[in-house]
Amino acid sequence: MTRLPNFHAAKWDEPVVMELGRPGGRGQLFPAPEAEIAEAVGDNPVPEAMRRKDRPVLPEITEFEAQRHYLHLSQMTLGMMGVSLFGTCTMKYNSKTSEFATWRPQIAEVHPYQHPDTLQGVLEIMHDFDGILQSLSGMDQFVFQPGGGADAAYTMTAVARAYWADRGQLGQRTEMVTSIQAHPCNPATAAAAGFTVINLPLEENGYPSLEALKAALSERTALIMLNNPDDMGIYNPEIREWVQAAKDVGALCFYDHANFNGVMGKLSARELGFDACMFMLHKTFGAPKAGGGPAVGAFGCSAELAPYMPAPVVAKQGDRYVLDEDRPKSCGKIREFWGNVPQVVKAYAWARAMGAEGIQLASDISVVANNYMDHRLAKLPGIERSNPDVTKRRMEMTRWSLAPLHEETGIGTVEIANRMADYGIDPWWMSHEPWIVPQPFTPEAGELWSKEDIDLWIDVLAKIMQEARENPELVRTAPHNQPIAQVKGDAFENPSKWAMTWRAYLRKRDQAAAQGAA
């Protein structure tokens, strides 16, 4: 067994920033308006009716104190600096080369409404990257406006509305069909767009049956939204028949390519018959996730659907790159401007650094590494693979269940995740709702993590499962080596205790103290 790290996280016992500082302390100064300005416009041009009278209750700290405080907070964030096999999110190295490139003024200090003549560099990158995604998917056009994978799913629902409106069938095509294990963003965005959601249940082989799909499809179906492989690592081999069945009733087919890592360069969404797809640039394409964005859900579709995409679209006219805003059939904007441009540049950089051969190799490695992990995990008593009847090798991730260990010891997936952090291992991904697999965890090695990292991760898991049997209290009360002890959840649903700001916290604390005194 690998030597397990004797880890302890930074523990600064850091106050909330509102508690720091002193009256009159300053972290940033601004010059007074120049004399000629003060003379021309007076001392305070804000209309009297709208002048602020109170002094906002903000910290008054020095520049250094702000730096130190937030560096402390960054140090109290494990932040993938351990081993993070966070399944469904495909943890990758985020190149500092591309990060630093986007911090240059040529991106950072550029305004999206500048004349296109002054934006030729960034437009060229977006255009070239569009071409890269077209090749990977077989689609005819991509846009980068959606601010994440869920926003790309929302884009699909908006495009579907525009498509059906153009055919005079908007009031008739009211339904979206998906699987119960599809990412929640698919049903949620469809519902927000005004569609009725039909969730297909899973069969024994891990995916819904073609018969169930056909029964759900009708002339009311506007679109279907699917991911494949799913988060169990199961690939639906009937996907072509699914797409055909949807087409037979005229419905649009959207491929949620969130789980693209294992099939990069192997599958083409368009060749499988899909009308549209999305890629998560902050995941599969090496742009950072930033703790939940800024992200990009690159949305691509066929030439038939392209007129309905959100505008603008980057196009090339002769030697010049332009923004095409004149798209009368467009579904409208999903978000302001053209997307999280720095993330697009980083994704372009990732694709260029990898090249076709690197992308294909990454996909090979991610599937083989997951199977290596499966092979080792299968030897640990107390866990079992999801869908045990599906004996074929899984794709780039596998959902596992701690149900046997939980039954034996009372220790489940939340406790183990907490305890793993004590060894410097980032907490794992469990499962989206609903938890079809009890006590789930979903590791994914991708191409980043070494075989040694994977071995360490499994050895830590094995050690904790041993602890669960020998000293369950140790695991139940974890973490012990983290910046803080286990967070109690009682405030989160309780209006008299939850506090989303410091001012709310102080008010409720004082109220509770007053009640206690009375």
Binding site: A108, G121, A150, A191, S450
Partner: protein
């Protein structure tokens, strides 16, 4: 599968022999065996057609910088572009913190392992709450327009009504996003959008028109302060009173950088407040710096309508210790799929950290200073431009950092004027002539704390030269 001749720096298992070792360990003869789930006829037939690999950092950097060099920036030029993305000063400490790999790279950990990030998020909400004088601030959504869209849908769910009133003089970019969130009318749950006319003399909402349109079917009134065209809505409290009297929600959009000098929306009757986060320490990033916040009072009927992440203080099992975690997690789409409030997912949470650092650096005096500097310089710029022959400024004494400059009397279009300015290193304001606002050949100029008096004199001088 062909083995690589040398390892790729981003893939540990691309080192020679690693893949083969793992295949041997799992008892697979080759990759095809591992991919046994995929039917043969699913594999792509078209070969990939990608530009050549740039595996070395040197080559990659050269390619990126070579392309980016073709951009011109607002640093080397004098820019007056705003309208949803604004050039503000970004303190260096903000860039250092948001560049920290622990914050920049990872997705989520637990409340304990990512304690620092959760605290930074809470501090974003806490400091913004102090500027807004409101107790609940959600982590930012994708953009200001998206925040407005969600806020309107919150109001519609809360009131059970399906109509919203917005200003005629709205930003078409944001309005297009709002339409996506509310329309088309044929869809289940659609929200009708009705536009309120402006008062021609001030650019503010026409209260008589508002009164006429406020009926028992109205879920919300949305207005901005300052508004799209820069105007300050001095009748905000009266609008909120009229809206409340009709049983509707008052939703306000504010520019957070104005709140050191302008009244907090929580003090004039706003029920739900939205705004952009980009002014709080985020670079323009070619539009990729945007995010939008949503805030309200701390009342369960509001709190239970939020779509995303609400970070709350929480006790830990160690007495006296505070941690942070997500309040009401079961009401969003992660918890309830299609039955959750709208949807959520990856958003713009790194900018919450930027905002937290920014607000802590400014403090109350910094916000007062920057607000005063912006409005003073913008008003001065308006005066200087208005002195240029043929140039007129709409509503010159009612604006914050943006104002409408009209060129009708010059006989030139905004596009022509901006072309001439650009040739002299100046990016003129956003062209409003195609937006159907009835403002003729007008542009929306934006002046902030980054523009010195000398910059403004140069702009006015150059404008007078190019108009000759």
């Amino acid at each position: 599968m062909t083995g690589p001749t040398r390892a790729h720096p981003w893939m540990a298992n691309s080192a020679p022999g690693m893949l083969e070792a793992m295949l041997a360990e799992i008892g697979a003869a080759n990759l095809a065996e591992v991919l046994e789930q995929i039917p043969q006829d699913h594999f792509r037939k078209t070969p990939l057609n990608l530009p050549p690999q740039l595996a070395s950092e040197m080559e990659l950097k050269r390619d990126l910088l070579g392309k980016l060099r073709k951009n011109a920036t607002c640093e080397e030029n004098l820019s007056f572009l705003g309208a949803g993305v604004w050039q503000h000063h970004v303190p260096a400490i903000v860039d250092e913190i948001v560049g920290r790999t622990e914050f920049a790279t990872n997705v989520w950990g637990s409340y304990q392992s990512d304690h620092g990030r959760n605290q930074a998020w809470f501090e974003f909400s806490s400091q913004l709450g102090a500027l807004l004088n409101l107790d609940v601030v959600q982590l930012p959504v994708y953009s200001w327009g998206c925040a407005i869209g969600h806020a309107i849908r919150m109001a519609a769910r809360k009131t059970g009504r399906n109509k919203v009133l917005l200003a005629r003089l709205s930003d078409p970019e944001r309005l297009s996003v709002i339409r996506t969130y509310c329309q088309p009318q044929e869809m289940d749950g659609a929200i009708e959008i009705v536009l309120v006319e402006p008062d021609a003399a001030t650019g503010r909402l026409d209260l008589a028109d508002l009164r006429g349109k406020l009926g028992p079917d109205v879920a919300a009134v949305y207005f901005e302060n300052p508004a799209y065209l820069g105007t300050i809505e001095t009748e905000a409290a009266q609008i909120a009173r009229l809206t409340r009297a009709a049983g509707a929600e008052t939703i306000v959009g504010v520019d957070p950088i104005s709140l050191g000098v302008m009244t907090a929306p929580g003090d004039y009757g706003a029920d739900i407040v939205t705004g952009p986060v980009q002014p709080l320490g985020v670079h323009m990033n070619c539009g990729g710096g945007v995010g939008g916040f949503i805030a309200s009072r701390d009342e369960p009927e509001y709190v239970h309508q939020y779509n995303g992440f609400l970070v709350s203080v929480a006790e830990t099992v160690q007495p006296g210790q505070l941690g942070f975690g997500l309040a009401c997690p079961h009401q969003n789409s992660y918890g309830q799929r299609e039955h959750g409030n709208d949807w959520t997912g990856n958003s713009t949470y790194l900018w919450a950290i930027a905002g937290a650092v920014y607000m802590s650096l400014l403090g109350p005096d910094g916000f007062a200073e920057v607000g005063r500097l912006i409005i003073s310089r913008a008003r001065y710029a308006a005066k200087l431009l208005a002195e240029v022959p043929g140039v007129r400024v709409h509503w010159p004494d009612t604006t914050f950092k943006e104002f409408v400059v009209n060129f009708d009397e010059t006989g030139l279009s905004v596009a022509e004027i901006n072309d001439r300015l650009r040739a002299r290193g100046i990016f003129g304001g956003k062209d409003l002539s195609g937006e159907g606002l009835g403002l003729g050949q007008s542009a929306l100029w934006c002046v902030t704390e980054v523009h010195s008096a000398a910059d403004l004199r140069r702009a006015a001088q150059t404008l007078s030269e190019v108009l000759k």
